[in-house]
Symmetry: C2
Subunit: 467 residues, 2 copies
């Protein structure tokens, strides 16, 4: 038993890329701190804290998800997730990674699970159009909100509920599954009052660390992917994290290298660039966990910091024709984390002698996957030659185990980075102000003062407008 | 005649957000330089240079696109764009903006134009899957490459051509439209040799400035959007740019404010955050034009710079639950450009008295669009209160004219920014290294030396791998 993911961090080091690289001595000097960070996290988890660390070992949630899904799946074609942020990004990332491209458009015979639509916003046109193309009788809506009070999710729910009640009357109760706190909140109360289907978001599992809980497991099961293999991969990563020396420990190295790049080299932009369309939404999931966990105003002692790297989503080869010019020639403020998949996803090949031209002789008869790989190496070489920090995460293929390894590695790396920055990686105090303002603007009771203050500010903000 | 887009830049100024804001005096001091930059660009364009500036006035390209499309559209359900970078991003952005959500999945009666698939990558599984779901006889493939030699586009073409020839034999010729240089390159030669359908990419129109040329017009026409209105919006913006004083000139203010933020305040990350699902891919299009144009190693005199802001794509409200924590509490290294749409895209409302709970009373009976707007204002207020630079671009609605105004405003702002940074905004020398490496790895003739060098580097890069 061991992980299949590999991290090649040669391109991060001064000896490969020169002055903008990390010195091996600096990295070695950090090993003790990385070790202590790991021990601290393991200890807290051992005492019952950081429950998300135990999710890879909690197969009972898979059973619960299967039970709920099997209880309602008959005749169901669509699962619609109503949620936002941590209640949406993981579902999207897993679906894109684990199901074939164009999943929702495949002809019925080629799709062995439900279609999945994740409503990650409150754009009214998008939700209304969706309700026009999915048949309520063939659709299950999964409302995901840990607190039960997220405004956007509640709003999506109230819009959908009205339409579904119109069509199905009391049968609406068979069309909703609530994934929410096991005991508290408005959604749990509704579940209890109306006897609705539900799954728990365990205490101590925050939104962005929840993908391996029922939050991410129901859609995994519903789309026909192997949720147990997903947990198995995460479990391998957990054991690797627990027992490997710091020098060989992938989550520790990820956090240590990126922390050094940010704090000692001013490389505050961390680009994740998978060379795989299936992994494109994993970069979006990473974007949340890295930004929201590490972007903090103060450290644990209340000292002002205003720190946190900015994660950026990119895609190879696409962004070679959009962002790589900047990555190669712009400021030395970035690390590029390339994600490589070893196994070719398709044998699709370029035809030979199809056209009367020698311009493309070098491509003829070759597999498209060969070009894809050559582009990855080409970019890695170009970044390295330009002295640009880069590293490569390699997965053997994109499957459930690999997804579990990958996601759990980043959850662990994020928690370790929280220790290095000496911040609380699990809160998000900075979003309160915007929430209060939105409540006030919606006329929610108790927010009258805020409303008045906003009106004044809005007026002041009208000062400079063009044309 | 005047533009409908508004720019509110109050949140950029010191008097609103404090020390991280730009001083009005600094902005005023830049006005002369902005004026000169505009005059310089207008003069170059007047002499026949910068042909992209004339595209809003070139309706003949719309006519050509219509003629080509009308010549082959009968029985056609799908348009597949084969291209990458500037040959793909504009098509995607326009389709998302101008057609309803879930366009490709709408039932036939509700779709009054072709479905559009943009292959912006060489992921073999995605292309192979697509070829399995579109019927070759009902599909037209639009190969877009100005030079005619882009490796990724040629590779996509050779893969598709093989499959289409297998199915249709010589009739393959009716299934391809080439958008390429009017006279030069391998694709133009193929068009001439085989008598194929084609459109020109005019000289002096680089990929990222090509969306208003046949590059973006064919898919606009094919999906049933109004290409003339798109050009009309761009034309309004051109005239506004030409004749408005710098103080009221939207493209000049965009470039001036972002230039000052970058170079005098260290705000090197420029986030575009539309509150509209229809505009999400516009942010991706912006990402290319801003990064590839301004990320440069040297200035026009060869002086070393390594400058250029990093554009980031975000989406409201979605990213309030992912990135806004970082934007509010993290480093003061960002400007957030919010994009607001005035008209509500749908009247979808939240039901009342659907559930027995007072938790959501503040939402009941309200339109979802009201919440969407409240979230935008809430975030703007929170950013401003936290002293974070922000500005808001407001469009009356998302339609062709607005898209034309928006895109041309950013093309002009990019060109002006090139003048301010004193760099060439129209080249991309930094991507050559990666291209050469990819050619070498594919065994292209003449790249043998490079191949040897890469092999050596690859070996050195194997030094540090975990676990």
């Amino acid at each position: 038993m061991s992980i299949r993911m590999k991290l090649n961090y040669s391109g991060m080091l001064e000896e490969m890329i020169g002055e903008h690289g990390v010195q091996l001595e600096e990295l070695n000097a950090l090993m003790g701190q990385l070790d202590r960070a790991r021990n601290e996290l393991m200890e807290r988890h051992g005492k019952g804290d950081l429950e998300w660390m135990g999710l890879p070992n909690t197969e009972e949630y898979v059973e619960q998800a299967e039970e709920v899904w099997n209880g309602c799946r008959e005749g169901v074609e669509n699962l619609v997730v109503l949620g936002i942020g941590g209640s949406a990004l993981g579902n999207t990332a897993l679906q894109t990674a684990l199901r074939p491209p164009f999943w929702n458009m495949l002809p019925d015979g080629k799709r062995t699970g439900a279609r999945l639509f994740v409503m990650d916003n409150v754009d009214p046109e998008r939700l209304e159009t969706l309700l026009g193309i999915v048949d309520a009788e063939k659709t299950v809506f999964n409302v995901i909100t840990k607190s039960g009070s997220t405004a956007e999710t509640a709003a999506q729910f109230l819009c959908v509920l009205g339409k579904v009640k119109e069509k199905l009357g009391e049968d609406w109760k068979k069309r909703f599954i609530f994934t929410t706190d096991p005991a508290k909140g408005a959604m749990r109360k509704l579940v209890q009052d109306c006897g609705l289907m539900s799954l728990p978001v365990p205490a101590g599992v925050g939104g962005r660390f929840s993908v391996l809980s029922p939050v991410g497991l129901l859609s995994t099961v519903a789309t026909g992917a192997d949720a147990r293999a997903l947990l198995k991969g995460a479990r391998e990563m957990y054991m690797h994290f627990r027992s490997s020396t710091a020098e060989r420990n992938v989550p520790l190295l990820l956090s240590g290298l990126l922390y050094l790049a940010d704090t000692t080299r001013g490389q505050k932009i961390h680009v994740m660039m998978p060379y795989s369309d299936r992994l494109r939404d994993m970069a979006d999931w990473f974007r949340q966990i890295w930004a929201e966990s590490l972007g903090k105003a103060v450290d644990r002692n209340g000292k002002k910091l205003n720190s946190g790297p900015t994660p950026v989503k990119a895609l190879g080869t696409t962004d070679q024709h959009s962002q790589v010019q900047l990555y190669i020639e712009g400021p030395f403020d970035k690390v590029v984390i390339m994600v490589e998949v070893e196994e070719e996803s398709s044998g699709l090949a370029m035809g030979s002698q199809l056209i009367d031209s020698t311009a493309f002789t070098y491509l003829e008869g070759r597999r498209l996957a060969e070009l894809f790989k050559a582009e990855l190496i080409g970019t890695k070489v170009a970044l390295t030659n330009a002295g640009r920090p880069n590293m490569t995460l390699t997965l053997p293929r994109v499957d459930e185990e690999a997804a579990g390894e990958f996601m759990f590695a980043w959850e662990l790396a994020t928690a370790v980075a929280g220790e290095l920055y000496c911040i609380d990686a699990f809160d998000q105090p900075g979003v309160e102000g915007g929430k209060v303002a939105a409540y006030a603007l919606m006329g929610r009771e108790g927010f009258e003062d805020a409303r008045e203050r906003i009106a004044q500010l809005e007026k002041k903000l009208e000062g400079f407008v063009a044309p």
